[in-house]
Symmetry: C2
């Protein structure tokens, strides 16, 4: 069943946005009484489509049981468009809950302040579509672009992907921190995070972790880490 | 230091192909006596560039110690070009040793026999470039397109990503098979491998594994599994 997200509920009806209406009528070519899944406030509803009543759909039933995921916050540098899109889509498929774009010394991509809102809007759309496709119950939040100084205010267990750390690797760290509720992961830009930035994060409570011996492209790193998290806590 | 692969050695010189010469002279704009890394027969050599002597470069020294990796064979359906390219590049970064394109029932991509050689050539080139960038000591081999009947002749421990298996997941399997030398992983097309195909593989010694609760796009699955393998055997 096709899945959509709704932000607004009235009595026994849920409201869908224009893009979803287009998808229902033009892409899926649904007919009256076709059923869809709609997530509202992290709950899953089965809804009935009546074309004349769109953008509203009728709630048929509410499914029991929310999926409570661990909270995974991914802090990444600004990347070139194609790489950014790939990371957003794959991180969503792999369960990220929040993505924080961070300005970093060695990041070659700069973004004018005036373009930030539009970019975040675009990124959020990619995450929404990936959430629908992978049938998640929530859409990852994209925060405003932060500096490292703003980032360190986030609470949780905190790691930074280090190119100098040799002893403490991701596996060791996760094995020793099995019961976390919230993890914050900082991935550096091409060439790695600068040692000054890394020192700063460590002084603010971040733990350095190595990712092993492979040399990965910058956009591969978040996908690798999120895969590892899923694998480690696989049931 | 930039890394290249060579297939031919004469006395103390290694031979480079045209694409690499172009990269050295036009992209990197190297000068006489610039040093490069060249892999020949899985060994790493430091070589000296003399522009007049190209396509041959002089061996300066041979580095000790081969990296002996576990052998990872990835059997994947034919995918649309962009997805195939992504899988080839990322699987190479993550240490795959051989990729076998396999014809499967539900695969929507078909390839005329006449185009196979050209395609394999293109895929091999992507793997070669990714190997250079991630400084691997070997380039993954792309085999001819196989049927499942041909695939089952491969030796090693064997798994098939199943959408019906609930109990035995990838983590359980890898934890119980830590000492393998060679693993063969079959990933299905969109919609999953058909149950008839899955039954056949199981009858030929493959083990069904689940990848957990996430719903991933087809091109994400191999990246996820290879990340998990690297994570599980991280040192």
């Amino acid at each position: 069943m096709q899945r959509y997200f709704s932000n607004s509920k009235e009595n026994d009806k849920l409201f869908l946005i224009n893009d979803d209406i287009y998808h229902i009528t033009r892409v899926m070519r649904m007919k009256d009484n076709d059923k869809i899944e709609v997530i509202y406030d992290n709950d899953l509803y089965i809804c009935n489509v009546i074309l004349n009543e769109l953008p509203w759909v009728d709630i048929v039933s509410k499914e029991e049981g929310k999926i409570e995921d661990k909270e995974i916050i991914l802090a990444i540098p600004l990347l070139k468009e194609q790489k950014m899109d790939l990371v957003l889509q794959k991180a969503t498929e792999l369960g990220v809950t929040k993505i924080i774009p961070v300005t970093m010394e060695r990041s070659i991509v700069k973004l004018a302040d005036s373009k930030e809102v539009k970019k975040i809007d675009r990124w959020s759309k990619i995450c929404k579509e990936a959430s629908e496709q992978s049938k998640r119950n929530s859409i990852p939040v994209i925060s405003n672009i932060m500096t490292l100084k703003e980032l360190v205010k986030e609470e949780g267990i905190k790691i930074v992907c280090s190119t100098i750390e040799k002893e403490n690797n991701l596996k060791k760290f996760l094995t020793e921190h099995k019961n976390y509720d919230k993890i914050i992961i900082v991935v550096g830009p091409e060439g790695g995070i600068s040692s000054k930035e890394e020192e700063y994060l460590v002084s603010e409570g971040f733990t350095r972790v190595s990712l092993g011996k492979r040399i990965m492209r910058v956009e591969t790193v978040p996908i690798f880490i999120l895969s590892a998290l899923n694998y480690e806590f696989m049931e």
